[in-house]
């Protein structure tokens, strides 16, 4: 659909209604979008677009970017790799769920499975160590293996979408759960291709231009690059005609259908887009773990992605990464807080508290505190409005 079509759609009531529900950029929390955002979408000139983009950059964006760039140099290799790198890779997979769930209204548990397919493809087409189960990889160069991996995983995600888009709510969750579990058992019991229970070992990240991406800092930057790329891509896409139509579909599919939008096509395409993000996350995960086995795409991992997305908050793409950072930190350090045998209690407790006290995850918590304390609180605003 072209921008012109979108503008026509905008003039109808349905379009305006969809607009009003679009979470508005980093200022999140369901605030209505500023007129500048609307102008940016509508403005055709490249200069105007860049100008509008630059106009959006705030001090906090620069601070966050500087922080993530400097981060690996001020911490040890453990924090750079296991906390930073892993959080970025998991965040990217969770981002695909945030995109599908938060903006398309389709909660797909199979995003980890898509990532798992990509991981397996890297191992199967690329170089991996010999497995006792009898499967062997083709040993092709990593560039080709990665391209195939992302392609295959995206096609897989599209098929998942094609199968599940006609369902709603809990049925989407069930059907994607079923697909994920089926893939887990396929990988577990197929020895000739997937290597069975053991999977593939010694799947190493490549060395490019003398930079070994197995090392903590290069891997961190690799993951960071793709995390940022995924983040900005999603942010851009959400303001594109497709993204806005997708949110329209989330709000009222029948109305969008009546307006002439192909609802199913929009949803399936959303799955494909989410598939690309999850696939890149999957490639990063196989390089992070140096291995892939059915456990990499188990039900537990599928639920972890859901936990990350929900905990971070699904109202804004950044939620996926915030959720991933908190998740990885809790998972690694809970054992230091409490008796060794009971540390899962801490993990569960933290998640429960976050979801219980803030239905919108950590982002909702942040929005609450900002409104309450940093800008004088909502009530004082009302008062001043009344006074004026």
């Amino acid at each position: 659909m072209s921008a012109a079509e979108w503008r026509r759609a905008m003039n109808t009531g349905a379009g305006r209604r969809a607009w009003s529900r679009i979470p508005g950029g980093p200022e999140a929390g369901g605030a209505p979008p500023s007129s500048a955002t609307v102008a940016m979408v509508a403005a055709p000139g490249i200069e105007a677009r860049i100008g509008a983009l630059l106009g959006h950059i705030r001090l906090r964006h620069v601070l966050v970017l500087a922080a993530v760039l400097v981060y690996p140099w001020v911490v040890n290799s453990f924090f750079a790799f296991q906390i930073g790198g892993q959080a970025m890779a998991l965040g990217l997979i969770a981002l695909s769920l945030t995109f599908l769930g938060g903006y398309g209204g389709m909660v797909s548990l199979a995003q980890m499975t898509v990532a798992g397919v990509a991981s397996y493809m890297v191992a199967i087409f690329g170089v991996a160590g010999a497995a006792q189960g009898g499967a062997s990889s083709l040993g092709w160069p990593w560039e080709i293996a990665v391209v195939i991996a992302v392609l295959v995983a995206t096609i897989f995600a599209t098929l998942v979408g094609w199968l599940s888009v006609r369902t709603e709510g809990i049925y989407t969750i069930m059907i994607t759960l079923a697909i994920g579990v089926s893939f887990y058992y396929l990988a577990q019991q197929n020895y000739s291709i997937f290597g069975g229970h053991e999977g593939f070992n010694q799947v190493y990240a490549p060395t490019v231009l003398g930079i070994n991406f197995r090392d903590p800092i290069p891997f961190y930057y690799l993951a960071l690059f793709w995390a940022l790329a995924g983040y900005f891509f999603v942010k851009y896409l959400l303001r594109s005609p497709f993204g806005i139509a997708l949110q329209g579909v989330r709000e009222n599919p029948r109305r969008m259908n009546a307006l002439g939008f192909h609802v199913t096509a929009h949803r399936v395409f959303a799955y494909s887009v989410g598939g690309v993000l999850a696939a890149i996350g999957g490639v990063l995960m196989v390089w992070y773990n140096n291995r892939v086995s059915p456990g990499s795409a188990s039900t537990e991992m599928m639920l972890n992605i859901l936990i990350i997305a929900v905990m971070g908050g699904m109202k804004h793409p950044i939620g996926a990464f915030i959720g991933a950072i908190v998740f990885v930190l809790v998972q690694n350090f809970a054992i230091d807080i409490i008796a060794r045998e009971r540390f899962n209690l801490v993990i569960g407790g933290v998640f429960l508290l976050i979801v219980l006290f803030s239905p919108d995850g950590l982002l909702g918590l942040w929005a609450y505190f900002r409104d309450r304390f940093l800008s004088g609180g909502i009530q004082s605003k009302f008062k001043s409005a009344e006074g004026g």
């Binding site: 453990f78 790799f81 296991q82 009898g134 019991q189 020895y191 229970h197 456990g295 990499s296 304390f373």
Partner: protein, 414 residues
């Protein structure tokens, strides 16, 4: 305002951490111990930690004149978690020596990780995959326990001596049972036995009816290499299906959990042969002292130490003995400790242990049979001790390499 407060807090925390860091004096050696405290092996994993604690306590908490501090870590039996926990111990908590992990696939992954930290010593916990030391071994990974294939050496001879010439096999479909089956079949096949058919089932299989229906009527006995609930389910269903053939079990098939289950089949388990690196009924003073120490130290533990407590115990004991030998000297990338461990020989609770050139243990295997104690409980009575079992299963290196590591199809003698 808030930001400044957060910044201040951050600085304060940083300073506090630094203070803790410097307070850590050089007369303490930090050892990380990784087992499973979650997932399918959470209960055995707890017993693994008991093994570590017990070894340190029996060494008076000191080794080489230095205080030993144990930091505990947990995995859930997946290699990813095992490596993540090991990385945290090594890179974040800066342990000097690492002990672990618990299961086979984890062991392979941690061995591969150990290559990225050649400056320190990694010692196995209880993992028993052959590939850990036979394929691409790591120069700083030591395993003072024997592995899955070694644990079954000698059982083939016993089966033949009982007249089991044709056998049917059921085993779980992953690395550890592959090793166990190879340990059994290597000698069994060489001496003229036949395993007519192998049924590989996924880990956690609950319904064995179709498998049991496929048991040929002309076999003499069954080889059952299943563990935990899989073993109980199989034995129950075989009983219901009226299978009356004798069994030969793997190292974790007829352990205490299986022997204590209630059912008529339990009686028919009497006489079932199995093998392993230890047995409840070893009749030596060293073993009896080990069991007595365990019972005294852990009244809430198992009635007698499990396989995992034993394996973690001997690996920890080896580290402490090595530290004694070098007076706790960890300088020069722990080179003295590495040399001392490589040539360390000692008498553990269940036999003499030394290392081969791949730093894997050469030790004893115990052939056992299920027997009834005076109080009516069942236990594994030692029939025979096979000393000095090597990782090549008594074959020459060339013969073993020709056979290769065990998998679904190796060895084969239908």
């Amino acid at each position: 305002m808030l930001r400044r407060k957060v910044g201040l807090l951050g600085t304060a925390v940083g300073v506090a951490m630094l203070a803790v860091g410097t307070a850590q004096a050089q007369d303490t050696i930090k050892i990380g111990a990784l087992t499973n405290l979650e997932g399918p092996f959470a209960v055995p994993g707890q017993d693994g930690h008991r093994g570590v604690d017990m070894a340190v306590k029996l060494h008076n908490g000191m080794a080489g004149g230095k205080k030993i501090q144990i930091l505990k870590y947990s995995s859930d039996a997946t290699p990813d978690k095992a490596v993540a926990a090991t990385r945290k111990a090594v890179e974040q908590d800066k342990v000097d020596i690492m002990i672990g992990p618990l299961s086979g696939d984890e062991g392979i992954a941690v061995k591969n990780y150990s290559k990225t930290h050649p400056e320190m010593v990694f010692v196995n916990g209880s993992s028993g995959a052959q590939a850990t030391t036979l394929q691409d071994p790591s120069p700083n990974f030591y395993r003072f326990n024997t592995e899955g294939a070694q644990w079954m050496v000698g059982l083939g001879e016993l089966a033949l001596s009982k007249g089991y010439k044709r056998m049917w096999l059921v085993a779980e479909d992953y690395g550890f049972p592959y090793s166990q089956v190879q340990g059994f079949m290597a000698s069994y096949c060489a001496m003229g036995g036949h395993v007519v058919k192998k049924a590989w089932v996924p880990l956690g299989t609950k319904d064995y009816s179709s498998i049991i229906a496929g048991i040929p009527s002309d076999v003499d006995a069954l080889v059952v290499v299943l563990g935990g609930s899989d073993a109980v389910n199989f034995l129950n269903q075989a009983e219901q299906a009226g299978i009356d053939k004798p069994f030969v079990g793997g190292s974790i098939t007829v352990d205490q959990t299986v022997l204590n289950y209630k059912g008529k089949k339990r009686e028919s388990l009497l006489g079932t042969a199995s093998a392993g690196p230890m047995a409840d009924g070893i009749d030596t003073p060293a073993w009896k002292k080990f069991v007595a120490d365990y019972k005294a130290q852990f009244p809430d533990g198992f009635p007698s130490p499990s396989l995992f407590a034993y394996l973690y115990y001997i690996n920890t004991q080896a580290v402490l003995l090595g530290l004694d030998a070098v007076n706790g000297d960890l300088s020069d990338k722990q080179s003295k400790l590495k040399a001392a461990l490589a040539k360390l020989e000692f008498d553990g609770p269940a036999g003499h242990i030394k290392l081969d050139e791949n730093r894997n243990a050469i030790g004893s295997t115990y052939i056992t049979e299920v027997a009834k104690a005076a109080d009516g409980s069942f236990y594994n009575k030692v029939v025979k001790e096979v000393p000095n079992v090597s990782e090549t299963l008594g074959l020459s290196k060339a013969d073993f390499d020709k056979m290769g590591l065990g998998n679904r199809d190796v060895p084969n003698c239908p």
